[in-house]
Symmetry: C2
Subunit: 462 residues, 2 copies
């Protein structure tokens, strides 16, 4: 393999672009949660698209596989090597230039290694926003965000990462560069090739740069915290708010009382409203004045009709942040509650109440003394239906099966926003139809016939 390593070293102009010492490689070969760990011949950190292309040609020539990696913040092991083929970890983290901003056209062009937070900051500096928000945005990269079609709390209003991508530069499996870095908001000239690479987790091509859509910045921001009796009432509230306030509703999060109590035990603070089985955190944002008043007024009818129990509206950015702190610490509080089996599922929004009931029943029926920790982006049907109390990996599998069987009954998704990676490859095969699995395999074989790109991820072909 020395000949491969020599070629890789020669392909990258900077000495910081090549790592082969185990200690230095370690941060790239383990995921941040310590769930996945892999092996690689070396870590290559190209500094340009041309260097990425060279590396792909080398990998292709020597029949070595490549594992692309951005900020290494994934939750499904998509950026950690797996399997027995010799692999090179290809980190894009040196490609971190913001290439261009078009304020009138609302576009920003960034390289794959740019950290999302930095790109959002650059947009903010010109009075615009990149409208996507998720927990790891301080270290997640643009390339990873696109490759996993990341979701987050604002998908309800702005869609997922896919909806932000106007153009892509991609290195294909044979080392040719697909230059689709166009900044066009309308383009139906032929097949929309970039769509292939969004959400395919680096298995069909390596994203090196992107043109992203920006959105105007909302001058007003305001949150409501609402006590409710059931998930069904939450949907009724969502319908009402869409009817009165329109699409300024940017986030609509559901949390169970047990989840909130765990957070309060961990970080202190207090419940903004009277206690109830469930809570909704709703955020509204727009440019028109008196948003607080409009949100308050919109909550009167639901209070009077009795399908919400209590409500508080943030009167300052501080208060808004206090509400969000309760939501944002759900994951941390769960971690302190011990071992958890996580499910990142989605069902149709109208099916959320029945899904929550049936999934809780399914967990109860296991008689394994488990606790459900359910919370999430109910406005877009994405529930983190996590289960506490499993004692072993064997138990995890049973729990997983039980939840995913309920998801299947609703024709839902077993991966709403965290991707398949290496973690859910088997589950994906089970959850999709034969037609879908075959079409995915057809695409993989058509675009990466030598199976050079991210083997063992997403599709079950290695």
């Amino acid at each position: 393999m020395n000949v491969v390593l020599d070629a890789v070293r020669a392909a990258i102009s900077s000495p910081v672009g090549y790592i082969d010492q185990p200690n230095d490689m370690s941060p790239y070969l383990n995921d941040w949660r310590g769930m996945f760990s892999g092996d690689a011949l070396c870590v290559a950190r190209p500094g340009s698209t041309e260097e990425v292309a060279r590396l792909v040609r080398i990998a292709s020539e020597y029949n070595v596989a490549l594992v692309p990696q951005g900020g290494n913040t994934g939750l499904a092991g998509g950026a950690t090597p797996t399997g027995t083929r010799p692999q090179i970890l290809l980190s894009l983290n040196r490609m971190s230039q913001i290439r261009k901003i078009d304020r009138a056209g609302l576009t920003i062009t960034a390289e794959a290694g740019c950290i999302l937070h930095a790109v959002k900051q650059a947009a903010k500096e010109v009075g615009r926003q990149v409208p996507i928000s998720f927990a790891s945005e301080g270290s997640a990269s643009i390339g990873g965000m696109i490759s996993t079609n990341a979701g987050g709390v604002n998908a309800l209003r702005y869609g997922t990462a896919r909806h932000l991508v106007l153009g892509l530069e991609v290195v294909l499996s044979d080392g040719t560069v697909l230059n689709g870095l166009r900044n066009l908001r309308k383009d139906v000239a032929g097949y929309d090739l970039k769509q292939l690479f969004i959400g395919s987790e680096g298995t069909l091509g390596i994203v090196t740069a992107a043109v992203l859509r920006m959105a105007p910045l909302s001058h007003q921001r305001c949150a409501g915290f609402v006590s409710i009796n059931s998930a069904g009432d939450a949907l009724r509230l969502l319908e009402h708010l869409h009817g009165t306030l329109g699409d300024c509703i940017g986030a609509f999060e559901l949390m169970s009382d047990a989840s909130i109590q765990r957070v309060i035990r961990l970080i202190g603070g207090r419940l903004p409203t009277s206690s109830a089985p469930w809570y909704v955190l709703v955020e509204a944002a727009d440019c028109a004045p008196e948003l607080e008043t409009r949100l308050q007024e919109a909550l009167i009818a639901p209070l009077e009709a009795g399908y919400i129990e209590d409500a508080a509206v943030s009167m300052s950015l501080n208060e808004l942040q206090e509400f969000w702190t309760l939501r944002e610490n759900m994951g941390e509080a769960e971690k302190h509650a011990g071992r958890s089996v996580k499910h990142d599922v989605a069902v149709g929004v109208c099916d959320v109440p029945r899904f929550l009931e049936e999934a809780a029943t399914a967990i109860g029926n296991l008689r394994m003394d488990l606790d459900v920790n359910a919370f999430g982006h109910v406005g877009d049907g994405n529930i983190h239906f996590n289960v506490l109390g499993s004692r072993s990996k064997a138990d995890d599998v049973v729990v997983n099966r039980a939840v995913h069987d309920v998801v299947a009954r609703f024709d839902g998704s077993i991966a709403a926003e965290h991707g398949i990676g290496q973690y859910r490859v088997e589950e994906l095969l089970l959850s999709k139809s034969r037609v879908e699995n075959e079409l995915m395999a057809t695409l993989k074989r058509a675009l990466d016939p030598a199976l050079t790109l991210n083997p063992g991820k997403v599709v079950g072909i290695v």
Copy 2:
């Protein structure tokens, strides 16, 4: 071929599902503008997805091609047979059921043959909207809208048809049904297969039904008509309005003085503002009160700074409609002005002013006594750069070449929203890179190896 016709007739349960008399076939075999005309063995009008699947299997078995057609409102001959292979015209117009509406989840499920206007009405009846608008929406079908990734005047705010599609049911080239009719707003479980069929004009599969995203309805609507000196000033205005009013800016259209004068000569009416080289029609819509006042106030600074000359704000729906009538009659007025060579191009929004200048210069340099009729969705970079005065098809080719050469300099699109169809197949090959053309051909061969679906369209493979 009688055996094929017998099989087709037997595949469709209703007698109205089969047409083979020339007079009855004629409306299906000619496009509405009279530009394209083709031949077919018969017209098949299946009543269900299963019947579509049967027809595809028959076509595949007998080596006959299929040309899918929706409302037959296309502008590029995508739904008209071409070439010499025996073909069956497959009209989806009998599949016109709206299957489901989820008001809380903002989704609507409709069959391919549904007319867009009917789907928009159904959404409106539950207080929501399907946020896409274009001239032919009274006869265009959902299937056609998706297959061409239609754009229109609201893409600035809501994106194109692609951004509305959450799930698709598709019949593949071998007659298997890809059931991806999921109503999920977040789903990263494997490759997003539906993206392949959006915008590929029926060449990779036949869309039979879709789940579309709805949006909240805006209670307030208001338009501004603005006189300006240059396209650059229009962009400055767009930036300013995005900065002050946010994303309630739903449409931002640019029209030249010559174009407007042609409309006024045709339909009467008057200019709402003082005359100037260019005009902008901007529409804002949201749920907050006093939108007229907010739009008026937002226009004060540009007037004072001198980069807009004059402005009028609609104070009623009637007045709003009067503004739009000027814009909506651009096409009709152009028709009355004689032969025109149409270009449906897009460039980056920031490049629009330079594009307009350079394209006008290129047309002037031809010394063919031509007039430019430029108007369009400048907010999303999509200009209908039409040229009047060409005297022959040979002249058309020269004009086309001149405009598309300028588009190429800006790395723009030769088909922003009207598609490739049969009209621009050669142009597409010329305008895309070798890598892009090869990847498109790879996809076509992978998904439709027998070339059964819509031969001679989009990709240059027949």
